[in-house]
Symmetry: C2
Subunit: 272 residues, 2 copies
């Protein structure tokens, strides 16, 4: 059962250092530090798709805030929200137990980290949806994707940062079929090739630097798709995959803050 | 020899009417009204690519200004700039002669039109570049496209409004080979498939209504491409095609205000 939840981190700079940037791969490393050893091992195993995603929109804003702060020569402390999604819920109890028992000091790059409690809770805004429940949603023809952290696809040898509907849905389709006990029953290849129109796209790219200096370019923004002459089954599956994107994210590196997505389906075009 | 120039039109609403919108196809019709009969006939002939383009960024803003005006119940008069490009300069003298002799009353939808003179000139900002001159440009690796009026490609049966580099260059390549005496000598198919990265994209789509009510969705904005591991010849041809876009436009319906493009090539990434 896919589920997701948020935790809040308070970051405090221990001493003035050269680099105060929190890169997506640093956050990824931090997350592995939170895991109990057996889970860390499980998540490290090579596999086509990882059973978790990890996002923080704040690390992108945070870095911006830091560079502003830096000019004023202060040492900032700030909160960031991290969203964790498990595609299979079996990981959840072990992760939670380890999180609550966590005593040792946590670091994220140059920052000391405190897990923030709110009303005695570490876990916020948890949501879950059984794979069987996805099958029972009521489908709508207009498919709205809000891309909240940079999205990037692989196309041949290159990164591809455009909301190409085929790539959006193929990424979701492959992940769904990998993890769900209910495989997609219709052949969506031709549907994706020939039937999906782009009704709206408003996006811009961002070049995100990783800690070793390499960069990945992804896009954020919004895209609205509409399928022409779809069968009921095709429309249902596009809706299911869209819903699934709320947990799975879209595109590459969703375990490293890329590809966080919010999906909505509507009966009509909404005011933009 | 590709050339382009601007004319300025003053539009005056003769009487209050229901529709005050200037749609791209109305502008297209107006242009045919400006042509001498032999040219109108020539341009009407079925052909894969038209030897002219016609753009006005203002009709999109103009319509916005009108709907604002409308609320205030006034009858607006306004200037719009129209850019005309001829891919072959042989049309230019006949067009100019007809333009200067034009005495009869001109209309654009519900508007009476006056050709505006500026310092005794009807033609403004004219530019031209021989097909042979394109071959002598110095190529640069970063390719900046500014899409000034909505751009749209055809993909299968559907309109496709994203700055997909393959579609951008294929549109230019086909038009270049159709009109230029100097055909592209390298096979760019694999280059376009495998070597062009998107360094930056910042775009949004617009749904443009035509006078019979149908709509076309195109994008405006900016895209920066970079070719990896290009041969000198490949880089040269991408630069030539980019330069050519200043005259040819990009994508479909460039004779109807779509696909107006400004191209620049640079040695480094420019500040965004």
């Amino acid at each position: 059962m896919p589920l997701k939840f948020e935790i809040k981190l308070e970051l405090k700079l221990k001493e003035k250092t050269q680099s105060q940037i929190v890169t997506p791969d640093l956050l990824h490393g931090f997350f592995f530090n939170l895991l109990p050893p057996n889970l860390a091992e499980e998540f490290h195993k090579p596999s086509r798709f990882k059973p978790f995603s990890l996002w923080s929109r704040d690390i992108f804003n945070f870095n911006k805030a830091l560079s502003d702060h830096n000019k004023e020569n202060s040492t900032p402390s700030k909160e960031i929200t991290v969203t964790i999604s498990f595609i299979k819920d079996e990981y959840y109890p072990a992760f939670l137990a380890a999180l609550f028992e966590r005593k040792k000091k946590l670091f994220l790059g140059p920052y000391a980290v405190k897990l923030k409690m709110l009303d005695g809770k570490l876990i916020k805004n948890d949501q879950y949806q059984g794979f069987d429940e996805f099958l029972n949603i009521s489908p709508h023809p207009y498919l709205y994707f809000y891309f909240k952290t940079p999205v990037v696809f692989k196309r041949g040898e290159m990164d591809y940062p455009l909301p190409e509907p085929r790539l959006v849905f193929k990424s979701l389709l492959n992940k769904w079929n990998y993890f769900s006990p209910f495989k997609v029953k219709v052949d969506l290849r031709k549907t994706l090739e020939e039937k999906i129109c782009i009704i709206f796209a408003g996006i811009r790219t961002h070049k995100i630097t990783l800690s070793l200096g390499s960069g990945i370019t992804g896009f954020t923004g919004k895209a609205v798709f509409y399928g022409r002459n779809l069968t009921d089954e095709e429309l249902l599956w596009l809706n299911i995959l869209g819903e699934f994107s709320n947990y799975a994210g879209v595109g590459r590196k969703t375990t490293m803050s890329f590809g966080m997505t919010r999906f909505e389906a509507h009966n009509k075009e909404k005011e933009l």
